[in-house]
């Protein structure tokens, strides 16, 4: 099925005179004409989400309910998590699947938020992204009971190690699957940004692990927005030095960033489909957190359009509002978009 949708700059939606048209000499000089309309379309993929070659080697994904867009919301005693993902225009135009994935776990004492972005040049990257998100959440959830029972000083390290274990297990699984399916491990290449918060025995821990690009940003209780980890990117856009399951990704998976959880009241983790349009997050992050907290009816500088929506945080329709927020338009920014927002619930700060 092919659907064509217009950008706001399609000729039929602007008032710029066509070349050669009469112009009223009393009218003010024409401003710079709008950019040429891009003419994006939407097509459906022609193959199944899980390739035939992977059905036997990755049976747990055979029932994965893929959708071009998805949104989730979950609430625990301390944190509210809202996540949304959507297929980018580039993939929609090509009739490809969304290659981003996300996974969220919310309990009263453990929250895990993971996003992953499949490499466009890797044929099975959407599967790699989904498998990686699941593996990281599973590892953290499995490790948590023992961590929660351990002495408080080990909480940061233990939780970080659990995230890292998840990434390492994902890498192992993907390499084995590649071999079994007659492919290469690079066929599954994906990034991962994983954040976990845990509270046990009067202590809080918040840790971050990242392989590849994408972003985590925190808003402190004083309103300051920070990016706790630099992420992996080169001199040019779209370049990553190491993906899951490349050789060496284990090293990145073990580089755990521990945050002072007590001073964090909101976090976002996102793929580069969000990082790039809002780059640098240190400057743009305050706007992003404000839009998500309060809702939005304006468009930031540099963007063509941001659709109006209600609050994401603390609202029963927050997931739908976040999905709407993902519909922003910025010229040249047409990648998949995935974001998970964690907001601390009132009265739950500290240990």
């Amino acid at each position: 099925m092919l659907r064509r949708f217009l950008s706001p700059h399609d000729p039929g939606t602007t008032s710029v005179p066509a070349p050669g048209a009469d112009v009223d000499p009393s009218s003010p000089p024409a401003s710079t004409p709008p950019p040429v309309a891009a003419g994006w379309t939407e097509k459906e993929p022609e193959q199944p989400w899980l390739p035939e070659a992977l059905r036997e080697v990755m049976p747990s994904l055979a029932t994965h309910a893929y959708a071009h867009a998805d949104a989730v919301r979950a609430t625990g005693a301390a944190w509210e998590a809202t996540g949304a993902t959507r297929r980018g225009r580039v993939h929609a135009h090509a009739g490809d699947f969304r290659e981003d994935a996300m996974a969220v776990h919310v309990a009263d004492d453990l929250v895990v938020a993971v996003v992953s972005d499949g490499a466009g040049s890797a044929r099975w990257s959407r599967v790699g992204a989904e498998a990686t998100c699941r593996a990281v959440v599973d590892a953290a959830v499995a490790a948590w009971p023992a961590l929660a029972a351990a002495p408080g000083d080990a909480l940061d390290a233990g939780l970080g190690a659990a995230l890292g274990d998840g990434v390492v297990r994902a890498a192992t699984t993907l390499r084995e699957a590649a071999t079994a399916a007659g492919g290469q491990s690079r066929d599954f290449r994906c990034t991962v940004v994983a954040l976990a918060w845990g509270r046990a025995q009067g202590r809080e821990a918040m840790v971050l692990v990242q392989v590849g690009d994408g972003i985590a940003a925190v808003r402190r209780t004083d309103g300051a927005v920070e990016r706790p980890a630099a992420g992996d990117s080169g001199d040019f856009s779209g370049e990553v030095t190491c993906f899951v399951p490349d050789d060496g990704c284990e090293g990145f998976a073990r580089r755990v960033v521990a945050l002072d959880a007590a001073t964090v009241d909101a976090v976002l983790v996102a793929t580069d489909g969000i990082e790039d349009p809002f780059y640098p997050i240190a400057r743009r992050g305050a706007d992003v957190f404000r839009q998500l907290a309060e809702g939005n009816d304006a468009t930031l500088d540099g963007f063509v359009r941001q659709p109006a929506h209600g609050p994401v945080v603390g609202h029963a329709d927050g997931a739908a509002h976040l999905a709407t927020w993902l519909g922003f338009e910025k010229r040249g920014e047409n990648d998949d978009r995935t974001i998970v927002v964690l907001a601390r619930r009132a009265g739950s700060a500290g240990s």
Binding site: G120, G234, E239, V240, D276
Partner: protein
């Protein structure tokens, strides 16, 4: 700059040996490339084209220009093959036109460069600039050896990716420029930055054009 760009440079040999059908085919091919990119929405929003020619000297006929504002230039073939000046000018363009990622700004996509040459350099400086390009790796460079007289060895000094187009007919150039536009369209996919052969994904070359091992 709020839009991240995919810079595409065409370095075209306009020496005397390209007179006649070859230069007319290159001109037509650039026009075709432009039309192809104007039919691709990601290219419309991101691709910027520049044309550099080289004969006795090198000239940037068209600076980096967004696809929708690009106008294919006239090309004339005469003179020698000052390849060194072309590479020097290309390096200058990278230094002055390309935006790299900084803490304040997301940079361009890594530039794509297509070099077309039908002969061998007639200057003595090309090797030093080829070495600079090989060391700095500022772009994904694809060199095209046009016809039987092109010096593949020289092009291999500039880039690992050399393709040979033995037939210099209009159809062959047309097919080559289709390959160029397909390469541009593919390049915005996420790639690895390490030089493991995965730094760029190219479409398969058309019939009549072979990759030089």
């Amino acid at each position: 700059m709020s839009t991240r760009r995919l810079p595409v440079y065409i370095l075209a040999d306009t020496s005397g040996s390209m007179q006649g059908t070859p230069i007319e085919s290159v001109k037509a091919g650039i026009g075709q490339l432009h039309r192809d990119l104007m039919s691709d929405p990601q290219a419309i929003e991101s691709a910027y084209l520049s044309i550099i020619t080289f004969s006795d000297t090198a000239q940037q006929l068209v600076p980096l220009t967004e696809v929708s504002a690009f106008s294919p230039p006239d090309l004339y073939a005469r003179g020698q093959t000052n390849f060194g000046d072309a590479l020097r000018l290309l390096i200058d363009c990278f230094d002055t036109e390309i935006v790299r990622t900084t803490p304040e700004q997301k940079g361009d996509w890594r530039p794509l460069v297509f070099i077309l040459s039908d002969g061998a350099p007639t200057d003595a400086t090309w090797q030093q600039y080829a070495q600079t390009l090989a060391e700095r790796r500022p772009a994904n460079i694809i060199a095209v050896a046009c016809g039987d007289q092109a010096d593949v060895g020289v092009l291999k000094n500039v880039t690992e990716i050399v393709i040979q187009m033995r037939d210099m007919s209009p159809d062959a150039f047309r097919a080559f420029f289709k390959f160029v536009s397909a390469s541009v369209k593919q390049t915005s996919a996420k790639v690895g930055s390490v030089p493991d052969g995965g730094s760029i994904t190219l479409p398969p070359p058309p019939p009549g054009i072979t990759i030089v091992p």
